[in-house]
Symmetry: C2
Subunit: 345 residues, 2 copies
């Protein structure tokens, strides 16, 4: 009988590892392949970063509560976020879409309005793409290209023991926005007469529907002569991301629960939904903030920036990856989604 291994047994990162492990680099211009936020190519002295994302309706977004303009904007932002996560500046994108005939030209115009707005805001050119049909649903593929001088490129694998772990902005908001939207969708489907109750929830809804790639953090690094020792963007929640930094840098870490930045509006929403704000911040995802490590002696350079929080530090690999809670407990950080994590608490 033919062998059949379910893909779910590997997980996304296991799968990528599995599929790419035997592939040897052939071009001298390929500096960094699979395994970071973006690939790095050296074309004639300066380095080029390339990153790509595929977004599928029903998996990555729900058009029931995602306006098309926001979708176009977000599809660009999530890719620019990966470019900034290499400490690089985005310069071009390509955008391919496949759509079923349920979408009109007016709908597409709306989507592209969001695309163009995102491009304009970040000084990026849309240089190519492809438009085709799909039998069902909306499929979006974006590739972003950026540039960086080789000395400034920041990878995931280069953190050092003792480095501070920092994050930009605040966390958990996008997940709480998603929770709200899913709740309102359910209510609407049960009773279409009821209008959605989004009052006072503008912050978390905005975090979900209109994420902003952190261009100004990269600019701040540049202006203040700061070079993170490692960095990535926060798309799957910081517990997942910090495990990536540790694994790829061959280190452990300590994260302090009370240092994790959560906005007041997110905290209020979490309590309303009966969720732990820390768990939302750790495992929520889609915040598109930056998580990075910094030499301790650079600490003074960031203290005046209110957008940056120090949440912990890197340790030796033998010490594992630990969360110190407000109550004085220590837990292993896992990346299995907040349900699994909540069970440990």
């Amino acid at each position: 009988m033919e062998e059949r291994t379910e893909i779910a047994t590997l997980g996304e990162f296991g799968l990528i590892d599995h599929l790419t492990r035997n592939f040897e680099i052939q071009n001298a211009s390929t500096i960094l392949g699979v395994g970071d936020d973006a690939a790095v190519l050296d074309h004639f002295g300066k380095q080029i970063v390339v990153t790509t994302d595929l977004l599928v309706e029903g998996i990555h977004f729900d058009l029931m509560y995602t306006p098309l303009k926001h979708l176009g904007y977000k599809a660009v932002m999530v890719n620019l976020s990966d470019v900034y996560a290499m400490n690089a500046s985005p310069t071009q994108i390509t955008m391919s879409i496949a759509i079923s005939n349920r979408f009109s030209l007016e709908a597409l115009n709306e989507f592209y309005e969001g695309v163009y707005l995102a491009c304009e805001k970040h000084g990026v050119d849309l240089v190519g793409g492809d438009t085709s049909s799909s039998n069902k649903g909306f499929i979006i593929s974006v590739t972003a290209i950026g540039e960086v001088v080789p000395e400034k490129l920041v990878k995931r694998s280069t953190a050092q023991k003792g480095d501070l772990i920092c994050v930009s902005g605040d966390l958990g908001g996008a997940f709480l926005g998603l929770t709200l939207m899913e709740r309102e969708k359910k209510i609407y489907l049960e009773n279409p007469q009821l209008q959605p109750d989004l009052e006072n929830e503008a912050y978390i809804v905005g975090r979900l529907l209109k994420p902003e790639a952190r261009k100004e953090i990269i600019a701040f690094f540049d202006e203040n002569n700061i070079l993170p020792t490692s960095m990535m963007d926060v798309s799957d929640g910081i517990s997942s991301e910090v495990l990536h930094l540790c694994r790829q840098s061959n280190l452990g870490c300590v994260i302090y629960e009370d240092k994790i930045p959560v906005a007041d509006d997110s905290r209020k929403a979490a309590f309303k939904f009966g969720l732990d704000p820390t768990v939302c911040a750790l495992n929520g995802g889609e915040d598109y903030e930056l998580i990075f490590t910094l030499k301790q002696e650079d600490h003074d350079k960031i203290t005046l920036n209110e957008e940056i929080s120090v949440i912990g530090y890197m340790t030796g690999i033998e010490e594992g990856c630990k969360l110190y809670t407000k109550g004085g407990n220590r837990f292993d950080i896992t990346a299995q989604g907040w349900n699994a994590f909540a069970k440990q608490g």
Copy 2:
């Protein structure tokens, strides 16, 4: 009432024009945006070309008769073909896929075997990508990157009046392979006991399932100091492609039916299916050959290459785009698929 324009009223190219017409280039490094086989970026002196394709199961391929290894191979090839069409050399690709749980890890391994084989053959590195779920079907997004010295870049818009129109290889085979496979699929669905009859059809089946991007044609240009005046790859059939070259170069053309290269095996298959081989060659698509224009004085440089056929020449825009048939008739070249075209004959 809300306005609703059906996308079908614009067609793919009309749609891309519509969506991108108001977008101004912001980066000095963007040399060429939407509208050619690939975008061109000038990063520090040498030029980089970028091209992307989105392939959707049920629209672009049918897994009933496309082995996964061939699919992986072809997904790469169609992108490399766009890079060669700029007279550039491919260096890297990214590959993103979304798959439903009906695919096992073994199935994915097969797909990636084809991807790696294509990369190896063309000296290209797989540098990134993304793997995610889909609710239904297999979705593939490939971005290919290549490089070229600025003096050698060949666009679509730079043909001159009097230039020769040339194509590589032979045409119509992939369309005939598709016709065969669709016929066998129908027979199989009606009576699953019947085995497919692909005997003697290896050539056209190969043209469909295992296209080869024309690396050696680009190498031949380089070795023989040939610089086409314009070029693109043949993915939609040469009547569509030649209209692109004419429109973008602001010219007309004459194509001679009896000069269009069709392989003997394709011709036989066409007669068997009751199709006109010329119509298959003109409007078939998926051949992934190169169509290019050449200064007349360069004619001697290509005569010894049996892989290159001269099929016509560029004229002034006022002369339109004409096909001269074997029977001495003259028709306007249209790109509405072979059915529409056949009606004119």
